[in-house]
Symmetry: C2
Subunit: 430 residues, 2 copies
């Protein structure tokens, strides 16, 4: 086994245990695919004796994962601890500086420090790999970095958070409200006890920042991602979306515009006939659009021990085979400058819902605010309810600019006859 | 440019011209991605002076493409001529024997000679790459070979022929018959003047044979692909499929069973709720299922100059970056034996349609044949028509074995009251 690839795994949660299991179960297959064994040389975790469903008794144990970065026998450090700073960051820096490969599933780490880590990797001739950090089992990092390398990409977007997609799917299927479905998702283990990171869109934004750098060859720029989560999506809007031929999805979108690169995570109305409209439950999907290839779509499980382990091992196989890549497709020194487009300049169509008093002149007031901002209406729905209830006025606008739309919605929200905060959901032409 | 990757392109049809255009348009981008220029050093085609929309006046011209395999300045031969034998095969053999990389979009060549060519590549330390040969712009070869390399795959299937998918999609949308839609597709350029290769399933079978070898690490075994095309799919069956919650797609499927590896191309009923049911028009899609990753889905344009050029250049980028792979994921010497499963042993559910005389006892006769073959019926549809017309009897069976089903269908077809050849469409559980 002198030519084996020796890896050290930091973190033995469900993903870490699954990586160990995969490497054990498929040892022969991987040796054939790599031409050499991929060998777990050492592991590190908080507790040595916890039952993880895999046998780690024969593996070298480190109480301090940092020891693995100093171990000459270890070729690759696999980081499955998580967190944007602390141990994960120190492990990455030390492993890469020591000329070791560093493989991680840590999207927060890369969203915050991706460019800096890529630079350390390049200076030291080491490999930084992170297939597992974006969309779990879907080999989307490889697809964009290598499979579509002949293209200039114009837009990459997707469903990058399974928790949000699960909640929105159940809301649509059952007509139930957000809070109710979230509670159930928490009980079933599809949402964390503290769900904010997922449902407020931060997790998807981390992944998007990574995809943007890969797609457009620019620094990872998490700070300029516009982020909105799914807390405000209501059963009523899902119902209207259906009626209008749309589904509501939390999309993460990065696209080139004449103003620069937009990065945004927010609920979207997507047309019923598009592939992404049918990606339900905990599945993730990514769409990448290139000038020669056109539209390509990738779907799979975005999280979970098995899919994440599959992605980690794909990186290990590349390393074992000597297949090297720049972390974000091109050398950091060739990165263009970040060119964040202001969200206020975003161009798009919008779904609006206002809850109004059922009295003469309300629609005229709303329409005149929109006219003043030069927003034109493509379609409008207003249905009678019982006279004492607020009436929903629902409209789809033609394409306009975000700042005009924001001003109009604020002004409409301030009208006396408008009884609650207006709802605005962007429509994405896919 | 001393370190440039120098390529020779044989064949300047629409794909060849698109490869030249891509390499010209994205020269700077590719240099950044590869760390060196990717340079078209020479071209060869039938006619030198044809207008192809790209400038080839500065490129070295060879009347005989074989000269490129003898040209020490050329690192990679790109074959875009086509055909399973003749020039394409000789080019492949000579280029690989000369230690050059060989990149091709030629599925027929690989389906017939893939194993032999992979062996030549390995003996000579040369690279055989063919991303463009399967599913055009979708980077599915890379996904299976590298992205899912941590998995043992159990099944790979997909829509691999855009012509058939286009015809079936239009038939479903319009209710029109096969012959009528084929004629229109030919006029629109979506089907060839001689459409047999596509509509009889041969093109999809070529691609499937390649995917099987990649997925399961066995020789390319085109001879054992069970092939049926779409000529017999009728508007009536599409209508019934719809009613029963299915869509009819021409699928190419390779899966491991207890009897060996099944490779089959035939019309399938796929459940309405599955991703592949919604892949319409000229789009292709591939689903790959692995033990750790679960189900992954890939969609994109399966043909056309741009998508195919994108795939060719992805291979060139890998070569320029020094990223090497075995043609089919593992060395030929590690291939398991081919283990073709007999189609007669196939297990599955079936859609059956019989056109019968409307008289007492017919259903009893049909049912007793099925009972004798131990085929049980899951659901049955029979609707009254005008008394003088044949009545369609439509049924979905529970899972059974192909040879039982074949015998039963033959016996039923021989009944006096059964007025035309029975229709059988396999149902695929996805």
């Amino acid at each position: 086994m002198s030519n084996s690839l020796n890896i050290g795994i930091a973190g033995l949660g469900t993903v870490g245990a699954s990586v160990v299991k995969l490497l054990q179960d498929h040892a022969d297959l991987l040796t054939a695919r790599c031409g050499r064994p991929v060998n777990v040389a050492a592991v590190s975790a908080r507790s040595r004796n916890k039952d993880r469903g895999v046998d780690i008794s024969q593996l070298r144990w480190h109480d301090d994962p940092m020891d693995m970065t100093r171990d000459a026998d270890i070729d690759v450090v696999v980081e499955l601890i998580g967190g944007e700073d602390g141990v994960a960051k120190a492990l990455a820096e030390n492993a890469l500086q020591a000329g070791k490969s560093f493989v991680t599933a840590n999207k927060a780490l890369l969203a915050h420090h991706g460019t800096a880590l890529a630079r350390i990797a390049e200076s030291n001739g080491s490999q930084l790999s992170y297939e597992a950090a974006v969309a779990g089992g879907i080999p989307i990092v490889k697809a964009i970095r290598e499979g579509l390398a002949g293209n200039s990409l114009s837009r990459v977007y997707g469903i990058l958070n399974g928790t949000c997609n699960y909640i929105l799917s159940v809301m649509r299927d059952t007509g139930r409200d957000f809070a109710d479905v979230l509670e159930e998702a928490q009980k079933m283990g599809y949402a964390e006890a503290d769900p904010a990171f997922d449902i407020d869109g931060v997790d998807a934004a981390h992944k998007l920042a990574i995809l943007t750098s890969l797609a457009f060859g620019c620094p990872v720029d998490f700070g300029n991602v516009h982020v909105e989560g799914v807390r405000d999506v209501s059963a009523l809007d899902i119902e209207y979306a259906e009626e209008l031929g749309y589904r509501i999805k939390l999309l993460a979108i990065t696209n080139k515009t004449e103003n620069g690169v937009e990065q945004r995570v927010h609920p979207c109305m997507v047309p019923e006939g598009t592939p992404i409209a049918h990606v339900d439950g905990v599945f993730n999907a990514v769409v990448a659009e290139g000038d020669f290839v056109g539209q390509t779509v990738y779907e799979g499980q975005g999280a979970g021990a098995g899919p994440t382990a599959s992605a980690v091992v794909a990186d290990l196989v590349d390393i074992a085979c000597g297949r090297r890549t720049h972390a974000f497709g091109i050398p950091v020194e060739d990165f263009g400058p970040p060119q964040p487009a202001a969200m206020s300049q975003h161009q798009g169509a919008y779904y609006l819902r206002f809850m109004v008093q059922d009295r003469p002149g309300v629609l005229a007031d709303i329409a005149s605010v929109l006219r003043d901002e030069e927003v034109s209406i493509e379609s409008l729905l207003q249905r009678a309810r019982s006279p004492e209830d607020p009436v929903p006025v629902v409209m789809i606008t033609h394409e306009t600019q975000e700042d005009r739309m924001s001003r109009a919605v604020s002004a409409i929200g301030a009208l006396n006859a408008v009884l609650s905060k207006p709802t605005l959901i962007r429509i994405e032409h896919l």
